[in-house]
């Protein structure tokens, strides 16, 4: 279905990533946002607070991030598309409800504008060290989708994708920005509403009495209902059966958790978005995501000037990880080089998938700024030897 024109500011704009994320949410049909102020993400909700009253949305600044991350789920079960926005310390507090959203299969978007950590860290400076937390931060086993934009334009476009994937797979989607992308201002082109594809909720057409909240038929994603429509349904964070009733046994656990994991893993090829440049014939492939992908471009230019055959693989979705593609590349390239603003998070996954078939080099960085392109360039040179 097409976007509601009411929320779409069609035209060229000069926006920072935070504001572009807000506009993306509006275009995606998000009409409920709960948040708590935290640098460097606050501009997203500040703009939401200004924009929502005139488009029929509701913003509430909650008492903390724990409350924000569950208020959006209340809104989801009332039928809304909903989002919360935070940065590292707040993201830590939201873990409980990322788990709840995964368990209840509540489509929702969690924006994390990453800053340096751990703890209070570097509130105003970039980091990319929440990537594993985004994937595994809540207890128990589950899968999520994580998206990493590298420009204000992508903050707009991919926020819409985040909402669409959330609805398609009934899963919490982590929108993993960083301080640089959040605060950099660039041209953002917002298309007309009728050119924006928006995924509607998978509401059931079954009647009350016929409908079971967690019954699936084949595609592993159950149909949804909302409160107030006469279904008198029950949902629980406890392990539950197709009726949504608690079922405290290992069989039910196996069935449920297996499905929560499989609905993402088995659909990974449909979910994954990557961007490749010159990977055909490359000897070295630089893998990157978020702001680091833009620094990597300079390093790649420098290496190409030396005659090194180097390609670029950018992760737009970071989770699920593009295993199939990476494995294929690993069969013939000399090495992967992966710069990230942490000491090896996505790199762990790269190493696992490469499984010794080729070399892989991490270019780590503690955050607070971005890499010097020379450091990545040196590693490419080393890898090409």
């Amino acid at each position: 279905m097409k976007a509601d024109p009411k929320g779409v500011l069609t035209g060229p704009h000069f926006l920072d990533g935070d504001h572009a994320c807000c506009e993306g949410a509006l275009a995606a049909g998000c009409r409920f946002v709960a948040g708590y102020p935290i640098t460097p993400s606050t501009e997203v909700v500040e703009r939401i607070a200004g924009r929502f009253p005139s488009v029929g949305g509701i913003f509430i600044q909650m008492e903390d991030e724990i409350a924000s991350s569950i208020a959006i789920q209340g809104a989801v079960w009332a039928g809304a598309k909903a989002m919360t926005v935070t940065s590292g310390p707040g993201f830590s507090l939201m873990m409980e409800h990322i788990g709840l959203a995964a368990m209840l299969e509540a489509p929702s978007v969690f924006v994390d504008v990453q800053r340096g950590g751990p703890s209070t860290g570097l509130p105003t400076l970039p980091g990319q060290a929440d990537m594993m937390q985004a994937r595994w931060g809540s207890h128990g086993d589950y899968e999520i989708i994580a998206i990493s934009p590298n420009s204000p334009q992508e903050c707009f476009d991919l926020t819409i994708l985040a909402f669409n994937l959330a609805e398609e797979y009934r899963v919490p989607v982590m929108f993993m920005m960083d301080e640089c992308v959040g605060h950099m201002t660039e041209k953002v082109l917002i298309p007309p509403a009728d050119q924006i594809e928006v995924t509607p909720r998978r509401f059931t057409t079954k009647k009350p009495g016929e409908y079971l909240p967690y019954m699936t038929d084949g595609d592993m994603v159950p149909e949804m209902v909302k409160a107030g429509d006469g279904y008198r349904f029950h949902v629980t964070g406890l392990t539950h059966d197709a009726r949504g009733y608690p079922a405290m046994n290992a069989d039910c656990q196996e069935k449920l958790v297996r499905r929560l994991v499989d609905k993402i893993r088995k659909n990974a090829d449909k979910i994954i978005r990557i961007e490749e440049e010159d990977t055909e014939g490359a000897e070295v492939v630089v893998m990157s995501y978020g702001i680091t992908s833009r620094v990597a471009l300079r390093a790649i230019q420098m290496a190409k000037a030396d005659g090194i055959k180097v390609g670029h693989l950018r992760l737009i979705t970071v989770w699920p990880f593009p295993e199939t593609r990476v494995r294929k590349l690993a069969e013939r390239i000399k090495a992967f080089v992966l710069p990230e603003l942490n000491y090896g998070q996505v790199f762990l996954e790269l190493q696992r998938v490469v499984a010794g078939k080729t070399k892989s080099y991490l270019v780590p960085h503690g955050g607070g700024t971005v890499h010097q392109p020379e450091v990545i360039y040196q590693q490419i040179k080393e890898a090409a030897k």
Binding site: P53, I60, A67, I70, A75, A227, R232
Partner: protein, 283 residues
Amino acid sequence: MSETNPVEQYLRMDRMPHIWCSGCGLGTTVNCFVRALEGCQIPLDKISVVSGIGCTGRVAGYLKLDSFHTTHGRPIPFATGLKLANPKLKVVVYSGDGDLIAIGGNHFIHAARRNIDITVICVNNFTYGMTGGQVTPTTPIDAIASTTPYGNFEEPFNLPYLADSAGAVYVARWTTYHIRHITKSIKEALQKKGFSFVEIISPCPTLYGRRNRLGDGLEMMKFYKENSSIKNGCDTREVGLGFKGPIVCGKFVDRERPSFLDMYNSKMAERIGSSFSPYEGIQ
């Protein structure tokens, strides 16, 4: 020929038997709650019940309504999102003292301050039953809990006073002995616009009563009968509870204050002007 209990239509009978111990007061509170629903003309399809975690947290799962069993301490912010996204719903939070007042205490006071239009029913049994009888923020001084083996030495919260000071528009307290009063209060709370709060003192003979030599469920009910008094309109500062002390019950607060959405709509109309259409829910 078998007769059906009139409350069965409100319950998920396919989930019976419930998990509560014999002598527990929770069943009594649920009975009162559904009888209140019977009398207050709200279409059942428009009622949502939200619970947290714990023995009382299981209430949502037994009610044949739209019902949500959420996370520990968080039913109020869940209810806040549910209500704001669809203000036409009647949203009830039904949970225990540990859930609402310890881990969820911050959410409790902020929802009352904002005057979110929900009804909060707190079944106060002075203990964490589900985890084996630990001390809670309402356990009276000197009461024994599994984590206060020498008696509680922390000052407990006086819940009506807390709700009153935080801005609740309706505050009442009853014990499970007062079944007619509970029903009436819940009915009033459901019909009241804004943050309404009903505390129900309830026996947990298994984990609170036994440890404190208060007898079984019946004896605890006798204690409520003999030691409670009804003082409607009583100053909430005067209704704190001591160990084996008197229990003041009644409707303490019933006042008018614009709800969160009333304030939102009037202030936005004032500031934004005629281009603002009053918010009535997500379209």
